[in-house]
Symmetry: C2
């Protein structure tokens, strides 16, 4: 069976490539695997048929005939394990790449999600402006630690891996936040990621979906 | 080489089993593997030697002669892959268990961390009480979805797996929050986890560390 993933019919990020299907598209492009996309409306994401695949009513999901997966982390790791190009072969190096993948999702992304929640859900609240520096401080701590770990290298550990793919996918959400500017090394790191042909193909694919959705709306 | 993990010399949770070494201890007990623990003070966690193992200055780390890992997710998954007892053998079932493990860390834990941050870091701020319901609502949404997915079963998908271990480890942080009470099925789920002999051995081990630390202080 072909690889099928699910994605937003109309991404709330307006095609900026921040939705979680982008991580999966990028991984599939890195390993050179074609895929189909099942586009879902917000209503369809809450339907029983989708909840059977994704208990939290989110995207993306992944099916390839062998497995049915949810959670971008599980999907990217599966792609990296199954196909050549995103996971070092050597056991110790693989362990470090997997550690970085989990670090992106569980140590770096939570404060970034907290910042996104503040902006998306609490911007009209009285406490928004006073609280923002507290949240930004938690994000900046992680960026400093990430910068220290990168040590001026191109990638987190040797060659580009699924760990870099996930870390960049998480940190890239900060691009318009102003929080990356104190870390030119991290901005360069993101630029290296964005320059990868696989990233560009993935970005163009998700952009085309958004553009088509907008076209339908404005028709 | 024996398995060596790192943990707090004196856990900030005062031995309640909420620190992330508990997940790893529990996993090692489930698969019947003995392990050693390197206890770290807060100062030691910031030293270069530890940062080389754990770039974010956190615990736990894991070494077994084959690999050196950080992030509790990466460690639990490695233990589940390497030893018998936490991962289904069948490919599709393994995919679902891994999806649940990632869901625990990236869909369920972030709002719980946000709640913990509010309590730990913002309780003395003017907005704390007014903002709390917003954060609690985000947690409750995830609990409702988790309850829906559990559907009255004992475990998330067939037999107890690394997915259950991680989900329970994440949700158990809510035990004193009052947010679990509307979900008696989730409270029963946690009770089933806590009743597992492996959980109890892991809990006792981390408690003994805390008790020893306190004994030294009060001596």
């Amino acid at each position: 069976m072909d690889i099928v993933i699910s994605a937003f019919e109309q991404s709330p990020d307006r095609g900026r490539g921040l939705a979680r299907d982008m991580r999966v598209r990028w991984a599939l492009e890195e390993v050179g695997q074609p895929y189909e996309v099942r586009l879902l409306s917000f209503e369809a994401m809450k339907e029983t048929s989708h909840l059977a695949l994704q208990p939290f009513g989110q995207i993306p999901t992944y099916e390839d005939g062998e497995v049915v997966l949810f959670e971008s982390g599980a999907i990217v790791q599966h792609i990296a394990d199954r196909f050549e190009g995103l996971m070092p072969g050597e056991t110790r190096a693989r362990g470090r790449a997997v550690s970085w993948l989990f670090a992106a999702l569980n140590s770096v992304e939570p404060p970034i999600l907290e910042l996104a929640n503040a902006r998306l859900l609490e911007m009209s609240q009285s406490w928004y402006a006073a609280r923002l520096p507290f949240v930004e401080e938690r994000v900046t701590l992680r960026l400093q630690q990430l910068s220290n770990a990168l040590q001026g290298q191109d990638w987190l550990d040797g060659d580009f891996s699924a760990g870099d793919l996930m870390m960049a996918s998480v940190v890239i959400r900060l691009k318009s936040s102003g929080l990356l500017e104190p870390f030119p090394d991290l901005m360069d790191y993101l630029s290296r990621c964005e320059a990868r042909p696989a990233y560009q193909r993935a970005f163009a694919a998700q952009w085309a979906v958004f553009e088509a959705a907008i076209g339908q709306v404005t028709k």
